[in-house]
């Protein structure tokens, strides 16, 4: 049994009367890749926002390896503690260049000087195939490059735990295949991963376990094959992907 990287315990979050996280509990061990699926509005992105501190839970606990209880910790400190994330809708710093987007993340997320952060950013730009646009304004990028930038910027913060929110969504088959290859390589490199995705075959080619959310509730967690064939998941996913 590997040590747990993240432990989420009975997390609850409501928006007005809508329960978006309903007593969510799970844990992820070090070096693992966990996939999260569920219909739109199931509360997947909200769960990420709770883990990163962008939202505060109504109740429940979040524990991070090395850090212990981080439930009340602001996002900036959680990032420094090793939680990196991408946003479902890409949110680059528009006026900065692609390289500067990474540089600010590496300099502040890792506490490096710009000089020391530079090599790391160069390597990540190579790995995420963004080197050709490194010195272009991020606001002018196409969707695939924006998605790649989300991934690259999250990596630049030096995450121990990387959260990816629908990073392959909206891309063509070919585009998503190359992005998935990049993500697989990152995971092979030892990163712990939690990955929300609708493109199931892409997801299942990387993750070791799959968690299914519906109406803010965990309705199943286990090996991808078992999950895909469970009755609960079939009912929820009827019509989303055959």
């Amino acid at each position: 049994m590997r040590a747990p990287m993240l432990k989420v315990d009975r997390l609850c979050k409501s928006f007005n009367s809508l329960k978006v996280s309903n007593s969510v509990s799970f844990s992820v061990s070090q070096g693992e890749a966990l996939g999260i699926i569920g219909p739109n509005g199931a509360g997947k992105s909200t769960l990420f926002n709770l883990i990163t501190g962008n939202l505060r839970p109504d109740s429940g606990r979040i524990e991070l390896m090395d850090m212990g209880d981080v439930t009340g910790m602001p996002p900036m400190q959680r990032c420094i503690a090793g939680v990196g994330r991408s946003f479902q809708i890409p949110q680059p710093f528009d006026e900065l260049t692609v390289f500067e987007n990474l540089l600010v993340a590496a300099a502040h997320g890792r506490g490096l000087s710009e000089h020391d952060a530079c090599d790391k950013c160069g390597e990540i730009l190579e790995q995420t195939e963004l080197m050709t646009v490194a010195n272009q304004r991020a606001g002018g990028l196409r969707l695939l490059q924006r998605k790649r930038l989300e991934l690259a910027r999250a990596m630049a913060t030096g995450p121990k735990l990387l959260l990816l929110d629908e990073i392959a969504g909206g891309l063509t088959e070919c585009e998503s295949a190359s992005l998935v290859a990049t993500i697989r390589a990152i995971h092979k490199g030892g990163a712990t991963l939690i990955w929300i995705e609708h493109v199931l075959h892409a997801l299942n080619s990387v993750v070791e376990r799959l968690m299914v959310l519906d109406f803010g509730r965990v309705i199943g967690i286990g090996a991808p094959f078992d999950m895909m064939n469970s009755e609960a998941v079939k009912t929820v996913y009827l019509g989303i992907e055959a």
């Binding site: 990163t52 962008n54 602001p74 996002p75 900036m76 990032c79 420094i80 994330r85 946003f87 949110q91 710093f93 528009d94 006026e95 900065l96 260049t97 390289f99 500067e100 987007n101 540089l103 600010v104 993340a105 300099a107 502040h108 997320g109 890792r110 506490g111 000087s113 710009e114 000089h115 530079c118 090599d119 950013c121 160069g122 730009l125 080197m131 050709t132 646009v133 490194a134 010195n135 272009q136 304004r137 910027r153 630049a156 913060t157």
Partner: protein
Amino acid sequence: MRYSIQTSTRFSRVSLALAVAMVFMLALLPAYASRGLLQDMFFILTMLTLAQFWNLLAGYGGLLSIGQQAFVGVGGYAMFALVILHGWDPLAAVAVAGCAALLVSIPMGFFSFRLHGAYFAIGTWVLAEVLRLLVAQFKALGGGTGTSLPRAATRNLWGADWVKEVFDVKSAAARDILAYWLALALAAAAIAGIYYLLRSKQGLALSAVRDNAEVARSVGVNAHRLKWQIFLASAFGTGITGALIYLQKARISPDAAFSVTDWTAYIIFIVVIGGIGTIEGPILGVLVFYLLQSLLADYGSWYLLSLGVAGITVMLFAPRGLWGLISDRTGVQCFPIRRLLVQHSNKTGENSVRNHH
């Protein structure tokens, strides 16, 4: 080391050298210039410094303050208090006056950071008004009507004797020369300091926060601390400048020292017309402002009206100001902050900059 960062361009290195040379030349100005020209230059330089600090707050930090007159007033009055009540030399008092403004800005920050956007703006204005009313209660400094610096103090400024001897002038002119030098040093230091900040890691974070504060926090940027740092720095700089302005005027009153028109509205005009969020903008803006003022000052309310029309026209047709127009057309930047990634090719040992911005 396979990669490095490049910020300067050939043009910027030349313009930086020119700027340094310019400062030295301006320092020699008292040898040639008339007293009237020196006073005009003093006005331009102090307004430029105030504009740079407001630009730091609003243009880089997104903090739209319309309460800068609080710091001008506190700086001015702190200097007067030290001179009149404690017998300090006015020049020493100017330096300490910056600290007084800094102190006042701490509670102001706690209050106004609870507010956002337009509420922040109005909050800073209200606080400045409160300070004006408080200062007017202070009988030892002339209450509501104000007071003047004692002649003995303004005559015997540190270094005044030396200036009188070297330039062969009377003590009033010597005071103007000293004040001019300080204004020049202050403007140069403000620009150098702000440029240094923008080139630093904190400056990069500031740009990120301006684009998207929530995301900036998520990549480890301490947005809250940054906001405080620039708020305090701008209070300190504005306070020193205020003290210097009132050293030169030698007379202060609450209405003048805490005037929202003189110390905030004009400053906003300068920054907006020149180009907000750039260092070059306020420099250009203050020259335009000075020209308009010298051309139109005799026309009273027409003057204010034409400032308003000019400001609105620029905002509508060139939202990035005159400097924005110029740098868009020509691509030049005197104070570049863009960090370009340079890849070093291992084989040839040559450097290559990919996809120049």
